[in-house]
Subunit: 336 residues, 2 copies
Amino acid sequence: MQIQQTLRGHTIFFKKQPKIISSGTIAGPKESAGIVGNYVDKALSDDMFGENTFEKAECKMLSYAIDQAISNAGLNREQIDVLFSGDLLNQIISASFAARDFAIPFLGVYSACSTMSESIMLASAMVDAGYVNTAVAATGSHFASAERQYRYPLEQGTTRPPQSQWTVTGAGACVISGKGEGVKIINATMGKVVDYGVTDVNNMGAAMAPACAHTLIQHFRDTDTQPEDYDLILSGDLGALGSRILKDLCWEKGFDISNNHVDCGEIVYKVIEDEFQGGSGAGCSAVVFNSYVLSKLKGKLFKRVLFAATGALLSTVSSGQGESIPCISHAVQLEV
Amino acid sequence: MQIQQTLRGHTIFFKKQPKIISSGTIAGPKESAGIVGNYVDKALSDDMFGENTFEKAECKMLSYAIDQAISNAGLNREQIDVLFSGDLLNQIISASFAARDFAIPFLGVYSACSTMSESIMLASAMVDAGYVNTAVAATGSHFASAERQYRYPLEQGTTRPPQSQWTVTGAGACVISGKGEGVKIINATMGKVVDYGVTDVNNMGAAMAPACAHTLIQHFRDTDTQPEDYDLILSGDLGALGSRILKDLCWEKGFDISNNHVDCGEIVYKVIEDEFQGGSGAGCSAVVFNSYVLSKLKGKLFKRVLFAATGALLSTVSSGQGESIPCISHAVQLEV
């Protein structure tokens, strides 16, 4: 496992292994009823968070998570050198308006629901190379702002198909630093766009699973590891159906992840019923990873985790023009 | 000027000074009639580029620019380790669908019209740190796809106000590498979000000028340089009015940039008439920088250039909800 190269295949090996020294999380009422409820910094009782629009609530959640991560690290805003953030809304307005609240450099990213792992990867690279001392990676989403942007007005009461997922209301952020105690970031596997031709915008799990399988297999090969080397292989928001497809695709290539794979979308809700296949959205893996999973890593219940958030890079325009759904997944390997 | 620190203020100093070893550019008919016409790899006679929608034409232009940059470097796609790209369309579909054409790792960024300098900054950092050997930074825009997304349907024939700008149809890409001959990337100043409360979505120049002024002044202070140390200070797409505001704001802080400042938006069109304040869009600085300016750098007519692309981080939703326009500008310093 000790590889001195900095790049092998699509995987970047960090030289000094930067650490996640703290995190900040917030979740909506529906999300807080589930597994993350006991781990988030704030469980909202009102998903409007005191704002008058869904978009402003989403932005406020993201700001809260960033602020909380910084204060949980015992730092103040002036000690953060750069913020990497993005979200699902057009022109990543949640991230941009949240960044306005913080007078620190901001590098906007877009990778749909894989924004959390792309942000962690870039923040880790900047810290590891010594360009910055301390960076924040953050993202979030809101069920209602995503529904009205990507799908239908909520007031219309459109019936949801059984293959659909439910966008998580929540946000998560983490502080990455070269100094201090925390969860080590060992390496990161950059994803490439994978598109198997799925056009059903209600079936994100099926669309994203091949991209996730590609990144996981690339990671195993680049790092000379096997699925059993990880205590947890955490995918982003494939949901129940997408997770089954992921396991099949990996198995076909000789990698059996069935014993240690968990999907954030599959576990985020207490009962998968109204949410059909489970949770989705940039906030899904952001909340699960930065609250529950980081907590278990800190407690050494997990010692080595592979976190591969997954993103569907479509828009209403691309789908309307008959395009299929290009997907991506970026992975980061963490250890304590 | 020889500073050994890797971070000073908001400016990252590259240790090995990665180089832009090639570029690829394409421009629409209106743009090709101007200064960039003699420098782009392809001057389109039809802004549909053989496609049946504006969005597909935009994506095809971006793919063309990336492909051309790679072949101009004498490389093939497999030799590119990562692509940094983003664009103005919702969910950066041009970049995501272009990335689908290339089977290489893709890291999506969003910084509106400052995407070119953010992409160059991140690509340079990854190359300089040795995480990747060769990276591509790319962006573009299309007048018609931007108009119908951000403003009105073209068929409506809405009158444009005098403070407005014209989104450039074009794309630009460059290959950044640790090896080979080219234009050296010395350092990069990360921008922060600046918002002076402008709410007029037709007056992007006025909204973005304060962010650009902030980044330029931060850069001068971090690098101990003065405006006269640069042969060219190139802002992204402030247009005529925004450029006047920029000069005033810098002058107020003791930095007189009036002798060597040029704005890509101000020079991109032959005659600023229908376009009022000039060009805008992510493609504006992408095309001007990667064609005309890089050519003059290679020819040593410019020896030191400060390139600060500028972005307005609004969306139709944020404006519709009464928000002002948060803006950002990232700068990179180049030398031959």
